[in-house]
Amino acid sequence: MKSVLALATITFKEGIRNRSLFGIALLSLFLFGLNISVAGFFMRDIGKVTVDMNLSALTLAGLLLVFFVGINLIAKDIDRKTIHLVLSKPISRAQYICGKYLGIQFFVTISLLLLLLLSCLTVGLLFKLYPAYFIGFSWLIFFEACLFVLIKFWVLTAVVVFFSSVTTSSLITLIFSLGSYIAGVTIEEVVFYLKTELAAQEKIISESLRTFIDVVSYVLPNFSVFDFTLEAAHGLVVTSDRLLLSLGYAIVYIVIMLSAAAYIFSRREFH
């Protein structure tokens, strides 16, 4: 456990000192600032637009953090053969995977929490300026939505770690992870569509394609289960069952991804 924590600590430090972080923070600040400056254009929907924009800014920042910094924190180790040095210490391959995952997860969490602080200031400011248009707004639901944005990136980090254990270059890891993210965000809608009568009338959708999409929907991470933007924007209460189900799904998916990564990594050779 000591080795895992030591590895997680250096991974976190390596990530948090990366200069790309300034760029991501600036972009987020710009989006929050934009939110304040354009909020007045939306009349009655100020509250909804504010919540929506803030959650979107957090999501965009999280994606940039995972794809531009997080991937490098593990894939660069393999690319640059730093892993030879690390694995020459009494650290097992499974410990390496766990340490790297925890380090990236910690890095993403701290960075997003800092951005959430700025996001709260934006929402708080607009809430104070236009209280009449924030009817139904609940900080609790907003924070729940933010928490699940964070959990979504924990799952995405596990996907990144999995692909890093399979591939030999950071670019391929990036392509696969990005593909999984895009498919994971949209797969639920595709599955729902295929169950409609409209889809049943489409001749182009064969039975084998339906089966294929059905299988893929179980394999790919379903990121839409972590999306509570609608609820946060409209102040709709999210039931604890749904929250627990989403949390459970995230934990199971992360465990499966990391176990598979550890298994593949333990069989891998480092030339």
Binding site: L5, I10, K89, P90, E269, F270, H271
Partner: protein, 308 residues
């Protein structure tokens, strides 16, 4: 007692579809005894780094056995005993040396007091104390190499594996590393290292293995290239007859073939006698040499024989 034993180890790299397999290591067998300095030399692509990676478990051999103190290699308990420096180590850019050494100590289960003590000791020896709080990305190539050595030695391993430890070092850095390796040797550590700098190998190693095309083609003991010729003068002469050679030997000299002629090793105290005899016999002296047989000579000779 042997620390590391390799028997009939083979490794073939499969680069991918439509590409020819590469036999990186072929039927490699050798043993490194406890407390000795074993050097592995060979041309580029001979399989030296592959051998080291197999020893560390980064690559699995296709066949053969690798034993550590008589037991098969497994991960954790054995790696505690090993310190490894790769060729051109890539360290974490944004960490400081102090943080890197802390990680090394923690992963090797050292307590913080011991990590601090060993870290300071090594950084002092390798002249890195002033740079300990600087990010590693600001280090020069030589400094990174020395930082890698600190990383390899922090947990005080009993077996040290160094892959090209002198690479990228300036003469001062080389001297530091040389002294450190000599110190480790005096402490009874087992040292296994690969290097292209034959002069360093010659000076440091008790035994040397020469690898070529994945095979160990020759093993030299220190005595093979450093015979009892310490206080001798080496003369390069034109070809001399067998009777003249016998006479030189009677007078105390030693001879071996060197190109078209001979190389004579003459003890200092016998020099004038032998020189007078050579003059009287009309043997041409072509020049003087600084050593009897260099490792480079042995290396080139062995590689040439193998290629033929």
């Amino acid at each position: 007692m042997t620390d590391i034993t390799l028997s009939s180890v083979k490794k073939i790299y499969k680069p991918g579809l439509f590409k020819k397999n590469v036999q990186a290591v072929n039927d490699l067998s050798f043993a490194i005894r406890k407390g000795e300095v074993f050097g592995l030399i060979g041309p580029n692509g001979a399989g030296k780094s592959t051998t080291i990676r197999m020893i560390l478990g980064l690559i699995r051999p296709d066949s053969g056995r690798i034993l550590f103190r008589g037991k098969p290699f497994r991960e954790s308990p054995i790696l505690q005993e090993i310190g490894y420096l790769p060729e051109n180590p890539y360290l974490y850019d944004h960490l400081t040396l102090l943080e890197l050494l802390n990680f090394c100590g923690q992963s090797s289960s050292l307590d913080s007091k011991r990590i601090k003590m060993r870290g300071q000791e090594l950084m002092l020896k390798l002249n890195l104390l002033e740079a300990q709080k600087r990010p590693l990305r600001t280090f020069s190539k030589g400094m990174l190499q020395r930082a890698g050595i600190c990383f390899a030695l922090l947990h005080d391993p009993s077996v040290v594996i160094l892959d090209e430890p002198m690479s990228g070092l300036d003469p001062i850095g080389r001297k530091m590393v040389f002294d450190l390796v000599m110190e480790l040797k005096d402490q009874g550590k087992t040292i296994f290292f690969c290097s292209h700098i034959l002069n360093d190998v010659e000076r440091l190693c008790d035994r040397i293995g020469l690898m070529h095309k994945g095979r160990l083609i020759k093993e030299f003991a220190r005595e093979d290239f450093l015979p009892n010729t310490v206080n001798s003068v080496f003369l390069h002469t034109a070809k001399i007859s067998q009777s003249q050679l016998d006479k030189v030997q009677v007078l105390g000299g030693t001879a071996r073939n060197e190109g078209e002629g001979h190389l004579l090793a003459i003890p200092d105290e016998k020099y004038f006698q032998v020189n007078r005899y050579l003059e009287e016999s009309g043997v041409d002296i072509l020049g003087c040499r600084s050593e009897w047989l260099s490792l480079e000579d042995l290396f080139m000779q062995a590689v040439k024989e193998q290629n033929q």
